[in-house]
């Protein structure tokens, strides 16, 4: 990693805080991001599962669409039900292409007067170009490049944030609110990427360090790097765009059927709908994303070939590693659909060895999202 390379990398509004905290900075999606802090990946992972972890995800894109009918227009680009989304509710969906492939996955929030969305860092420029190319004249697209984004995740996260924003712990999973934290106008969303309860917090860039320092001063909170973010989301069975879902995988192949509601299934009207709904209705996707549990202790990394008993290649691992909370290796990947049933015996070509594994249900660690009592 050379100094010249780093000079072209972007920094988030929290960069100096990462340095102060001893973060090990690495290039990620065009940004210099902390992969870990002195606590280490394992310690950070466990801390998040036990207490509360603070993640800088400011590299992700925050975009607002303004104008009448923005929800209806968005449905021409995503298979999620956006029209019927209630105000201050969040939906997970994806931009699809004409072949049914996934261009990016994203979170869409319907706010009182507009739509707020969070897209992946590596895709944000292409997502914005894609939206602009399709944007009707009466709608405006605004990139909120003057805001940081952090996630506070873990079983104690909601309690911590409610000390700054009273009532935040009463928000339902996948709901949104606008609050003041340390005098800063923040958008808080009860969602995340760890399988734990918690919020994502959008903060004006010039107040981001102050807000983060206030959160980090709470005894339950530690700063968490990208390394633990990856092991946490893998245990939670959540997809990493560019790895577990790409333009070569449809939402059905990616086992994301649940993200397409009944009305969109009936009406279609999104890019690649023929292919995607065909796979859904006929159950004929040739490959499916599944969880994989290696029988031994050796992790199977991304790119590991999946074999049948006769050494035929039947799939590939798209994310794999060691799950600190699970206490062993975990992976996800694509297999030919006739091998996708939970419990199916498969084999992993790890280096020169053929390791036994089974197709397994995800998540590997139970999700602990907050569901508001009815």
């Amino acid at each position: 990693m050379s100094v010249e390379n780093n000079s072209s990398l972007l920094k988030t509004p929290l960069y100096s805080l990462h340095e102060d905290l001893g973060g090990k900075m690495v290039p990620f999606a065009g940004y210099l991001m902390p992969v870990q802090y002195p606590l280490g990946v394992m310690g950070e992972h466990n801390h998040t599962r036990e207490k509360a972890g603070l993640f800088d995800v400011s590299h992700m894109g925050q975009v607002v669409i303004k104008g009448h009918g923005a929800d209806k227009w968005l449905e021409t680009l995503v298979p999620g039900n956006i029209i019927d989304l209630k105000t201050n509710r969040i939906r997970y969906t994806m931009f699809t292409d004409e072949n049914g492939g996934i261009l990016d996955d994203l979170m869409i929030t319907k706010r009182e007067n507009d739509i707020f969305m969070v897209v992946n860092a590596a895709c944000k420029e292409q997502d914005i170009a894609h939206m602009r190319a399709n944007l009707p004249a009466h709608l405006d697209l605004i990139e909120l490049s003057d805001r940081a984004l952090v996630a506070l995740q873990g079983p104690m996260a909601a309690e911590v944030i409610s000390r700054f924003a009273a009532g935040a712990d009463q928000m339902d999973f996948m709901s949104y609110a606008e609050v003041s934290i340390c005098g800063a106008d923040c958008f808080i969303s009860r969602c995340g990427y760890t399988g734990e309860d918690g919020h994502e917090i959008s903060i004006p860039a010039d107040k981001a360090i102050e807000v983060c320092n206030a959160l980090l001063a709470e005894p339950e909170v530690e700063a968490i790097g990208l390394g633990a973010r990856d092991s946490l989301r893998l245990e939670a069975g959540l997809c990493l765009y560019g790895h577990d879902i790409t333009t070569d995988t449809t939402p059905i192949e990616g086992s994301l059927d649940w993200s397409i509601g009944p009305r969109r299934r009936a009406e279609g009207g999104f890019p690649g709908a023929d292919k995607i709904l065909g796979q859904l209705n006929n159950g004929d996707a040739s490959k499916l994303r599944v969880g994989i549990l290696p029988s031994g202790r050796a992790p199977a990394r991304e790119g590991t070939e999946i074999l049948d008993a006769n050494d035929n290649v039947i799939g590939i691992v798209t994310s794999g590693g060691f799950g600190p909370t699970f206490g062993g290796p975990v992976a996800m990947g694509y297999v030919n659909s006739n091998y996708a049933k939970t419990g199916t015996d498969i084999f992993l070509a790890v280096r020169k060895k053929k390791l036994e594994a089974k197709v397994a249900d995800m998540p590997f660690v139970p999700q602990r999202y907050y569901r508001k009592p009815k």
């Binding site: 390394g227 092991s231 600190p324």
Partner: protein
């Protein structure tokens, strides 16, 4: 008994014709929490510089290279259940394997403790 160090951050403790090999404290610190070690098999032959073992941290897999050529005579089976020994005791209980050194002159290209200390100081 003498300990030598390689530029790939392995150590080899030599007693007669037998060397005991592990990775240095500097290496375990750089790798982070180690969750799995793939060891060679007893009886396998390796040349100096061959990939002889693999260390997996939560983040990634890293190859370990044989500091001298020879035949594997023992492996540390404790690591199968407790790979974290490499983190907690890199130069003790976290050893990887023992090797019957084929050509002792290969030790000459390795560093002594003072040389290795200087080498890692130059990396920071």
């Amino acid at each position: 008994m003498t300990i030598y160090y390689s530029e790939d951050h392995e150590w080899i403790e030599v007693e007669g014709k037998t060397g005991t090999v592990g990775i240095t404290d500097y290496a375990q610190n750089a790798l982070g929490d180690i969750v799995f070690v793939e060891l060679p098999e007893v009886g396998e032959d390796f040349a100096k510089g061959d990939e002889v073992a693999v260390v997996e941290s939560v983040k990634a897999a890293s190859e370990i290279y044989c500091p001298v050529g020879g035949e594997i005579t023992a492996v540390n089976e404790e690591l199968e259940d407790n790979a974290a020994l490499v983190n907690t005791s890199p130069d003790g209980d976290g050893w990887f394997f023992k090797i019957e050194i084929a050509d002792e002159s290969e030790l000459e290209s390795l560093m002594d403790a003072a040389g290795y200390k200087e080498f890692i100081a130059g990396l920071e």
